[in-house]
């Protein structure tokens, strides 16, 4: 059993598990932090941005955490844990010879599709007259300015995929529900479990009858909108692969939410606009719910809230139809029947409006001061670029960062100098170190595997030993391109005895409470399932015509006779011989036992503690008799 680690990013994992002849990829996150090296992509040409030194304005490239560590075409299945961890899917499944199946829950598929659609849309609506790749050559890269010069492995940076590739990749997805047992080739069973992080997010159990690997990725114990995390099913794991802990371990999500609201209210009251760069699904639902409760008390009833994204409408609509995947109190709303999320009411009362982009309806209906939710959180592409340019110069306005994926200082860099206020309220609901320690204590895995970042305090806070995993035995760390041998040995496999065979067995008690039975059977293996059938009955002897030949026929190449155990005691054996008419026995003692000389038959039997030797020359019937008599004292195994 081996684990190939293709990504070093702890929250955007990509690992490959080889287990019982299956090759399973666990997530394929797309690390887009490399876009921070690029200039923002504005919709309209901006002379200011294009003159900025230090950044290059090039095609929208993303870095793919993958190396030729293994052949992607050999991957049998890909298990997706949440929609953020599937953004690299088209790079894995398209043009690589991949022929396997991708497993994901329905919300993960639908929302993942929306996020990919949005990404493609952001990239494609600002077409580049030319695209360059030569700069990726090491010699040329050396001559380039700024941070790009130092960027490592730029040759892994790839162009964004197309919608066609997205559709093709997603057509390989097979939908699964929580606690659904999915058989892979009869050898392995995989099961998604609720992980509590986002709509449809899952942890995975990968198990056979004897081994259990848990894959924990992006889990949350906070009560936000998704179904709570299923912890108990993670118990009794041999190996637990732990990824996707919070990226901001020092920030409390509830506190951040409070800060978000108060900053928002303050700016609006002062007549400024609020910009919230965010993803189109996930925390935004919680932000809207929080605002729904907050709007009236903060007297924001007349302030317009805009959600701008090519997929804004879809995201809001989809969130309402996944009742099965929501927490209890949202679920019970559907029984009334009411939409589970209050943003339906915000839309109905015209407090929240959504638009596919800043053109068209939005530009007509746009009123200030307002609150705008839009992407992309990196501030490099999407409608957010426009709003940064529009509002950046006024100190009345505020940009509030809620997504933890990008350093907000780096994100803001190309917009400096900036008059607008910046507030950093990262909301990351994933497990923190305290919660994970408690969880691991609860579920008691034999071994824990995790990214090496979790085994030491964060580099900026090296004194905080509470911000790392401390376990006994210590976790096995991995980094990008590691290949780990997972520490357990398979010893057993499940096999079915057919009822006829089971009935024919003759068990005998060897020790108190332990019985054994010898099994002679024919093994049938099909689809990795093993079945033992009774051995076929020997074919009847052909008629006498061929008899002579039959004698010549050597015995079928059969399996050997059973092993023997025990000892042959002298006196009872002599008595038994006597009973069978063998009376003339001369017994001679030897250091290890006895030698019996059957004088009339000219045969020797050597009896020892752990062996019996019958020397019998020409009397085959006698030899057979003696053999059977000896066997009566021995145990067959």
């Amino acid at each position: 059993m081996k684990l190939y680690c293709l990504s070093g990013h702890p929250t955007l994992p990509c690992n490959v598990l080889k287990f019982k002849s299956t090759t399973i990829m666990l997530d394929c996150g797309l690390d887009t932090t490399s876009v921070l090296h690029f200039l923002p992509l504005p919709l309209v040409h901006s002379p200011r941005l294009s003159k900025l030194p230090g950044w290059i304005s090039k095609d929208g490239a993303v870095s793919l955490e993958k190396r030729e560590l293994l052949d992607l075409s050999t991957i049998d299945v890909i298990l997706i844990s949440n929609y953020h961890c599937m953004m690299a899917l088209p790079y894995i499944t398209e043009h690589t010879g991949f022929t396997g199946t991708v497993y994901a829950t329905e919300p993960t598929l639908q929302i993942g599709r929306l996020l990919m659609e949005e990404l493609v849309n952001f990239m494609e609506r600002v077409p580049k007259a030319q695209s360059a790749t030569c700069w990726k050559n090491k010699e040329i890269q050396r001559l380039l300015p700024g941070p790009v010069k130092e960027a490592v492995e730029v040759w892994t940076w790839r162009r964004c995929y197309s919608m066609q590739e997205v559709n093709s990749a997603l057509s390989k997805v097979q939908l699964v529900g929580y606690s659904q047992k999915v058989e892979l080739f009869g050898a392995v069973q995989v099961t998604p479990l609720s992980s509590g992080y986002s709509l449809g997010s899952s942890n995975w159990i990968i198990q056979s009858h004897y081994e259990k690997v848990s894959y924990v990725s992006g889990s949350s114990l906070l009560t936000t909108h998704p179904q709570p995390m299923d912890q108990s099913s993670l118990k009794n794991s041999d190996v637990l692969i732990l990824t996707g802990l919070t990226q901001i371990p020092t920030a409390n999500p509830d506190g951040m939410l409070g800060e978000f609201c108060s900053n928002l209210a303050m700016t609006i009251r002062a007549g400024g606009n609020v910009l919230v760069p965010c993803y189109s699904s996930g925390v935004i639902y919680d932000l809207l719910e929080c605002l729904y409760q907050f709007i009236d008390s903060a007297n924001l009833g007349s302030t317009p809230f805009y959600f701008i994204s090519p997929v804004a409408n879809s995201s809001l609509e989809f969130s309402q139809i996944f009742a099965e995947w929501l927490c209890q109190n949202k679920q019970s709303k559907v029984y009334l029947p009411e939409p589970p999320f209050p943003h339906a009411e915000l839309i109905q009362t015209n407090k929240l409006k959504h638009y596919p982009g800043i053109h068209g309806d939005f530009s007509n209906e746009f009123r200030q001061p307002c609150v705008v939710f839009t992407g992309h959180p990196s501030l490099r592409f999407g409608d957010v670029v426009h709003f940064m340019e529009l509002w950046g110069k006024s100190s009345l306005n505020t940009v509030i960062f809620t997504e933890p994926d990008f350093s907000y200082l780096d994100a803001l860099a190309p917009y400096q100098p900036l008059a607008m206020k910046c507030v950093y309220c990262p909301i990351d609901t994933r497990l923190n170190f305290h919660q994970v320690a408690k969880l691991l204590k609860e579920v008691q895995p034999l071994h824990v595997v995790c990214p090496e970042q979790y085994t030491q305090p964060p580099p900026t806070q090296s004194h905080r030993s509470d911000l790392m995993l401390e376990l006994q035995p210590p976790p096995m760390p991995y980094r990008r391109c590691s290949v780990l041998g997972l520490p357990f040995r398979r010893r057993y496999e499940r096999i079915q005895l057919l009822p006829e065979l089971a009935k024919s067995l003759v068990p005998s008690e060897i020790k108190p409470g332990i019985s054994v039975a010898t099994v002679s059977a024919v093994l049938h293996t099909k689809d990795n399932k093993h079945v033992l059938q009774p051995p076929p009955k020997p074919a009847p002897v052909p008629p006498s015509k061929k008899r002579k030949r039959v004698v010549e026929e050597p015995p079928e190449l059969v399996t050997p006779k059973p092993l023997l155990s025990g000892a042959v005691p002298l006196e009872p054996f002599l008595a038994l011989l006597h009973k069978h008419g063998i009376t003339e026995v001369k017994v001679e003692d030897t250091p290890d036992g006895h030698i019996l000389h059957l004088q009339a038959e000219d045969t020797l039997i050597q009896l020892e503690e752990d062996g019996t030797h019958i020397v019998c020359d020409s009397n085959e019937p006698l030899r057979a008799t003696l053999r059977d008599l000896v066997l009566r004292f021995l145990q067959k195994l």
Binding site: Y492, V568, S618
Partner: protein, 599 residues
């Protein structure tokens, strides 16, 4: 011998009050708990005294599973859980859990408030009953306890309808509830994997029908509605609030849009607006097309269909009204029917099955004079049309499901005895080896199962065996493998004999045989050895026969040596020695050599 027992308390050779008891692997499960539309007395509910005479059912049942929200499948649930007494888990899907209490409340109101019955379950009982419900997701494996697991499959039929697989160890039962094998305008088709249950319990409402294509029926329906409206008549379509109603609404809505018709379409109030809401929120349970387009256009937001008010029934001019309930046995649909029955311009379209005893059933059987409550008779002049839009599988669909699931046995329920008989013959003809049952209510069917015994085999033994077998097994020459089964406590482990000896701390006892065979062979010792070698080589095809340089011949692990007799150099002595494990071969060799070598 392990066995599965199935007893229908309702729906045995009958449609209505579905309730089937299953005993499997020591577990007892109740499948559905429905009421009968055709009765108003005790026969309305299943006879729970079959389970126990005195009191509560909790200790006799491990779980109750409800397949969908129709009252003939869940109508007796509050009676069973609150009045008879059951506190265990009740499983149903989310949409069923959402809609079922509303229909129950509706049923209660009609029975208690309108008909004035007492001794019936109360609103509070419905609420208490629903608290015992555990929601079920499609394909999720729910572990009821350590041994019993259930899994739901999509059944079509109505929103949230499910088929369930019940499994204990390697024994399993599939119960279909009501299902539909062809997708319709709002729901998808039922699907199940090849789960090979010991018994498949299938509904058989349309056991003898093979329905013509859906398109034709739809065209017929639209034509009839259109003609009636054109000549100024009124169309009454009695429906259940959820299910067919939505399908027909979608159908009429698109038709009205296309033909630009102005006649009003009404949907009887109360349930219906709510009902459409459920469809919007549970859109993942509808068919592919609706799911795909719901963001742009939600099919359940109707433009032409408006809420009905009682006073509209007397309005002049044409109109189309959907009213509940579907079998015309009570409520609004019956009221409207009474008003419109006397006019031959009007039409009533029955889109589904009607249980015996209901007004709907009487109409369909051609009665022109109906006896109503209070000894009045009602003359029926309006046109009566029957169109099967109810989403049950027809004979073709049932056969298709059998092919999908590959059960060992089939049991038919939820159908009429005569039709079942026909289908039973057909199933047994088409699928050899499948037995088909159709028990009456209270009749127990016992099916012996023959589960295989799961055992842990040591990987070493399995790999060794697989290596011997080669990449492709030879079906003509099956290899017999040999192992030792160790039974300790409740564990069964199959290991190699050597490992068994080691694990059980037993010594091995070597049993050896030595045999000297005399041959007349006038050659030198080495030549004789070669002759022995050649002879054995020619006889023992398929064995390893080796001529070793140290002057011995080895056949597999049996050693042969040749020496000359001291007295006569032409008499050779062949010494054979073998262990008990090679007994068959050793014995054969000694007899073979005794016959001498060929010249």
């Amino acid at each position: 011998m392990p066995e599965i027992k199935v007893t229908p308390l309702g729906a045995g050779q009958d449609v209505g009050r579905s309730c089937i008891l299953v005993s499997i692997g020591g577990k007892n499960i109740m499948l559905d708990c429905g009421m009968h539309m055709g009765y108003n007395d005790d026969r309305r509910f299943p006879d729970f005294s079959y389970i126990t005479q005195n009191g509560r059912l909790t200790e006799f049942l491990d779980c109750v599973i409800i397949s969908h929200f129709h009252l003939d499948h869940c109508g007796a649930l509050p009676y069973m859980s609150e009045m008879v007494g059951y506190d265990g888990p009740i499983y149903m899907t989310h949409p069923t859990k959402a809609i079922c209490p509303i229909l129950l409340e509706d049923f209660r109101k009609i029975t208690v408030d309108k008909k004035g019955e007492t001794n019936f379950f109360t609103s509070q009982m419905i609420k208490d009953c629903m608290k015992k419900v555990v929601p079920l997701n499609l394909h999720q494996t729910v572990q009821v306890d350590d041994e019993l697991e259930i899994k739901a499959y999509y059944a079509g039929h109505v929103l949230g309808a499910a088929m369930v697989q019940i499994k204990v160890g390697s024994e399993s039962v599939v119960y279909t509830g009501d299902y539909n094998m062809t997708p319709d305008r709002h729901l998808g088709a039922a699907w199940i994997d090849k789960c090979r249950p010991d018994i498949l319990i299938s509904e058989s409402t349309y056991a003898t029908t093979i329905r013509d294509s859906k398109r034709c029926r739809e065209r017929d329906f639209l034509k009839k509605v259109h003609e009636t409206v054109e000549r100024g008549g009124k169309v009454l379509i009695p429906v259940f609030a959820l299910g067919r109603a939505q399908e027909l609404c979608i159908l009429l809505e698109t038709f009205w849009e296309r033909m630009n018709l102005k006649a009003p379409i009404y949907f009887s109030t109360g349930l219906t607006e709510k009902a459409n809401h459920y469809y919007k929120l549970f859109i993942t349970w509808t068919n592919q097309k609706i799911r795909k387009t719901f963001v742009q256009r939600n099919m359940f937001e109707f433009k032409h269909i408006k809420a009905f008010d009682r006073s509209y029934a007397d309005n002049p001019g044409p109109m189309v009204v959907f009213a509940t309930p579907g079998m015309l046995h009570a409520g609004q649909s019956l009221q409207i029917f009474k008003k419109w029955a006397g006019n031959e311009k009007n039409m009533v379209i029955m889109p589904g099955y009607c249980v015996q005893g209901t007004v709907g059933h009487k109409l369909l059987s051609g009665q022109k004079k109906l006896e109503m409550e209070g000894r009045t008779t009602l003359e029926v002049k309006l046109q009566v049309e029957y169109m099967s839009f109810s989403a049950h599988a027809d004979a073709k669909g049932i056969m298709q499901l059998i092919r999908m699931a590959e059960p060992r046995n089939v049991m038919l329920v939820h159908g009429e005895a005569k039709k079942m008989e026909f289908l039973k013959d057909k199933i047994e003809q088409e699928f050899t080896g499948i037995s088909c049952f159709m028990p009456a209510n209270g009749e127990t069917t016992t099916i012996p199962t023959n589960p295989s015994v799961p055992v842990d085999i040591s990987l070493n033994l399995l790999k060794r065996e697989a290596a011997f077998g080669g990449p492709l097994p030879d079906p003509k020459k099956p290899r017999t493998m040999h192992g030792t089964l160790i039974m300790k406590d409740s564990s069964l482990r199959l290991v190699s004999p050597e490992q068994a000896l080691k694990e059980l701390d037993l010594n091995e006892h070597q049993l050896r045989f030595t045999c000297r065979v005399q041959l007349q062979d006038p050659y030198s010792d080495t030549d004789t050895l070669s002759r022995v070698y050649n002879h054995l080589k020619s006889v023992l095809k398929g064995y390893t026969v080796q001529h070793l340089p140290d002057g011995t011949v080895m056949v597999e692990s049996i050693v042969l040596k040749v020496s000359s007799s001291a007295e006569d150099p032409n008499t050779k002595v062949v010494l054979l020695s073998w262990s008990y494990q090679d007994e068959d071969l050793g014995s054969f060799l000694s007899s073979l050599l005794r016959k001498g070598l060929p010249p």
